[in-house]
């Protein structure tokens, strides 16, 4: 039997393509590390570019959200292609840690970060931090009309007046802190009232934009969205002011962004080097000088001078490794928010 050349050629190319594809996909990681990144893409890209420039180690990002990637790593188990996991908040780090998938970090990495910004087991470290705020429309609300506590937003008087982005890991971390500080019963009740009172937006930026546009009076978000917009055009935040709850209120929660190295990493040295670099001077300087406006957490590292100093925020004491993302999504699903 005779087969024509074009047929043979096309079948061969196709088959080769199918075989080469997974190989090519893995090849990306053969000469560098894969980072499962839930931090803002622009921030991690800046870190990765500077790190690659300094060390020559290539960094490939897979972007997603905290708990999505955290749960993904847990499902992938030892087969995960991730070498490093970076998040915006702690619950997803706690999730992966509880599954025993992190390798211990180098002592030199841990030594760069104060104890209160990392879990005691040394499996991951804080790399940045962000503060919960109530971003409000300053043309509508005066300071004495602001909620004294995050819990006040459950009051019927706040019905239809505030916003949040419940699908995002940021807000879920705040709920995790509430759960840790006030217990399950109080949190479930608060979420139930929240369902009645709040308006859901997709993303914190969008929620702030809505406050700015006068569509809603306030939103529970993190501080840096406002600073980021002010640094650009201010177009989406000119009517917005930030209210810090302080007084160790659950609403004064400071969330720690984490970084860790997977035990299954095939490039442990490079992965450890990357986390060490982020928590060290190079990475922390990018927080100070870049456009992320997140707080630096390294020993002796300064945050952007425009921010309210971390020490003045009177944040409640929450052990990051105890934050329970699964319980939070279950409670939010039960409350009909997710």
């Amino acid at each position: 039997m005779k087969l024509s050349l074009p047929l043979l050629a096309s079948v061969a190319t196709f088959a080769l393509g199918l075989i080469a594809a997974p190989v090519a996909a893995n090849a990306q990681s053969a000469d560098g590390i894969v980072v499962y990144n839930a931090q803002h893409e622009s921030l991690t890209q800046a870190w990765a570019d500077a790190f690659t420039a300094e060390t020559g180690i290539k960094v490939t990002l897979r972007n997603g959200s905290d708990t999505e990637l955290g749960n993904q790593i847990v499902q992938e188990g030892a087969a995960s292609s991730a070498d490093v996991f970076l998040t915006e908040n702690s619950p997803a780090m706690a999730l992966v840690d509880a599954a025993g998938l992190f390798a211990p970090l180098d002592a030199a990495t841990l030594a760069q970060v104060p104890d209160n910004f990392r879990p005691a087991d040394g499996k991951w470290t804080g790399i940045a931090a962000r503060s919960t705020v109530f971003a409000y429309d300053k043309t509508k609300l005066s300071e004495d009309q602001l909620p004294k506590s995050l819990l006040d937003l459950a009051d019927p008087s706040w019905k239809g007046r505030w916003a949040a982005s419940p699908g995002g890991a940021d807000f879920q971390a705040i709920v995790a802190a509430l759960l840790e500080l006030k217990g399950e019963e109080a949190t479930a009740a608060w979420l139930k009232a929240m369902k009645e009172n709040f308006t859901a937006y997709k993303g914190n930026s969008t929620a702030m934009k809505a406050v700015n546009a006068g569509q809603i009076e306030g939103a529970v978000i993190y501080h840096y969205y406002w600073f980021g917009d002010q640094a650009k055009t201010g177009e989406n935040s000119k009517n917005v002011a930030l209210h810090y709850f302080r007084n160790q209120d659950p609403g004064a929660f400071v969330s720690i962004s984490g970084g860790g190295v997977l035990a299954s990493s095939k490039h442990p040295e490079e992965a450890q080097a990357f986390v060490k670099w982020i928590a060290g001077k190079g990475g922390q300087d990018i927080l100070k000088t870049g456009t992320s406006f997140e707080y630096a957490v390294g020993k002796g590292a300064d945050s952007n001078p425009k921010l309210v100093p971390l020490a003045d925020l009177q944040a409640p004491k929450v052990e990051p490794s105890t934050l329970d993302s699964k319980k939070v999504t279950d409670l939010m699903t039960a409350a009909g928010i997710l």
Partner: protein
């Protein structure tokens, strides 16, 4: 060996064999086997939904399904469908009537402009509107933007059907004293039923599957809720159960359409051919009538064009980060072409069977593909993520898996174009090639596929158009480091960096334009004009 006939017995006595006509021979088994394999693969997502429900257990599953949140989503989704589909149908019928049956000035132009919105991805349409009116949200906004994004799916079949209508029936009705309005409702509209139902089904399925459009205007449907659950829990049970409900909705729509379609057909009998309809003279009414296509074109094309122009000007040269844009474009083109090639190859056995060996098996297989093609990308992606991560780990996060997802999602598109042109390849040529000793695979390649090449090209174009603007499944399945145009656009617009997102939107629209043009030309050709 296939096609050869033994004419001499081993002992040397000649015999005469009656050769059955080609068309009644059983299908070459390998063709049927391939078609069965493709269909079996395409049933994976359905099997996944059933499997996961069983695994979850009825107690948990029912707690996840019968809760108020699912009720809310159901109400939202149902309202969206029952508001959008009829409005789109009326709009599309009115436009089709104006462009096909009247002497509306520049009718050809308006006809193209009624199809062109297909080149604007739904989430770009949403982005355009939300930058124009930031407070847009909820059901009203959802219906408005959905109509603008999807009415061409109704316009295409309706206008094609109108071109083919036999004016004799209308003349007869008019001569019996019916008013023009009555003629339209009693004679024209019933003949458009199939076109309207088919288009309506397509629109409804898109409404169920779309994510980006509704996420931007804060309107929650099953699909947005599934994506949100996925972002919180990866493939948690709540996401899987919502997917199950969504699948039920799709199946319900398919059944509904099949039921309403019925078996009635309109055909002309007797000698002669239908004449071409005389366009209705609008006279002075032409100018007010022009307002409708003008308004629709402004809302569906003008608004995106204005918004994009505004952001591109506001962003200036700074937003043209050519490195990232070029990389995204390259990756998107590669995925689109590879996905289109795979979908088209997968459609070949199916298309061949349905032309050359129609029968029970073929109808069954085609039904399977049809159902799976109606499933939203988010369900297909969820299924493939779960299956690969649990059972087929070497395939997990590979290019292969994402291409399979595209092939499953867009198989019906490939099938339709391929089948139409395969039907035009004369079976006699295949027989001649076979009688000259060519192997079936060789016949298929050197005769059938060569004659069906235009159809294969159209199939590639249609599938690439789908892949080019695909967001949800790509995000969930793509290999590490993938960043398509749609993904980049989505990530930037999510951080409300609307200016930086504009170049990506522009490129998506520009690349979709020629493919949409092809679709338009194809539909006109199928109607014989």
């Amino acid at each position: 060996m296939h096609g050869s006939v033994e004419t001499i017995r081993p002992d040397g006595t000649p015999i005469l064999l009656r050769v059955r006509p080609w068309s009644r021979r059983p299908a070459p088994p390998w063709m049927a086997i391939l078609a069965v394999l493709v269909s079996a693969a395409s049933l994976l997502p359905l099997g996944f939904v059933i499997g996961v429900t069983i695994q979850t257990g009825w107690a948990t599953a029912s707690a996840m399904i019968f809760r108020p949140r699912v009720g809310e989503l159901m109400v939202n989704t149902v309202l969206l469908v029952i508001a959008t589909v009829p409005i789109s149908a009326v709009l599309a019928t009115a436009l089709a009537w104006l462009t096909e049956r009247t002497d509306l000035p520049a009718a050809r132009l308006w006809s193209w402009l009624a199809v062109a919105p297909l080149a604007v991805p739904a989430f770009v349409q949403s982005y355009a509107w939300i930058s124009l009116i930031p407070s847009l949200h909820g059901l009203g906004a959802g219906v408005l933007i959905s109509v603008l994004a999807y009415f061409p799916f109704l316009y295409l079949p309706i206008s094609a059907a109108m071109r083919r209508l036999d004016p004799g029936l209308e003349d007869a009705a008019a001569s019996l004293g019916h008013s023009p309005a009555r003629v339209f409702f009693r004679i024209v509209l019933p003949q458009l039923r199939l076109a309207i139902l088919g288009g309506a089904l397509l629109v409804a399925l898109h409404l169920l599957a779309e994510y980006g459009l509704y996420a931007m205007i804060r309107f929650d449907t099953f699909t947005t809720a599934i994506v949100e659950q996925f972002q919180s829990t990866f493939n948690g049970p709540a996401a899987n159960m919502l997917a199950g409900v969504l699948v039920m909705c799709c199946l319900l729509l398919l059944t509904l359409e099949a039921g309403l379609r019925g078996r009635e057909r309109y055909a002309r009998v007797g000698s002669g051919a239908a004449m071409r309809a005389r366009p209705l003279r609008l006279g002075r009414a032409a100018w007010p009538c022009l307002l409708l296509p003008l308004l629709v074109a402004f809302l569906s094309l003008g608004v995106p064009a204005l918004t994009l122009a505004r952001w591109l000007i506001a962003g200036g040269a700074e937003i043209w980060d050519l490195g990232s844009i070029g990389l995204a474009l390259g990756q998107t083109l590669f995925l689109a072409l590879a996905g289109a090639a795979l979908a088209t190859m997968a459609a070949i056995p199916m298309a061949w069977l349905s032309i050359r060996r129609p029968g029970r098996l073929q109808r069954l297989l085609e039904g399977c593909n049809y159902i799976v093609g109606s499933l939203p990308g988010v369900v297909v992606a969820l299924a493939l993520v779960t299956i690969t991560v649990r059972v087929a780990l070497p395939l997990y996060q590979t290019l292969f898996t994402i291409l399979v997802a595209y092939a499953l999602m867009f198989l019906p598109r490939a099938l339709i174009s391929l089948r139409a042109s395969m039907a035009q390849a004369p079976v006699e040529l295949e027989q001649a090639a076979a009688s000259l000793g060519r192997r079936p695979i060789h016949v298929l390649w050197s005769v059938t596929m060569r004659l069906a090449a235009p159809g294969a090209a159209a199939s590639m174009a249609l599938v690439s158009l789908g892949v080019f603007n695909e967001l949800t499944a790509t995000q969930m399945l793509a290999p590490n480091g993938t960043r398509t145009l749609a993904m980049a656009f989505w990530s930037l617009s999510g951080e409300i960096d609307y200016a930086a997102a504009a170049p990506y939107a522009l490129i998506m629209v520009l690349f979709s334009m020629p493919l949409t043009w092809l679709l338009y030309v194809q539909s006109r050709r199928s109607a014989g004009r």
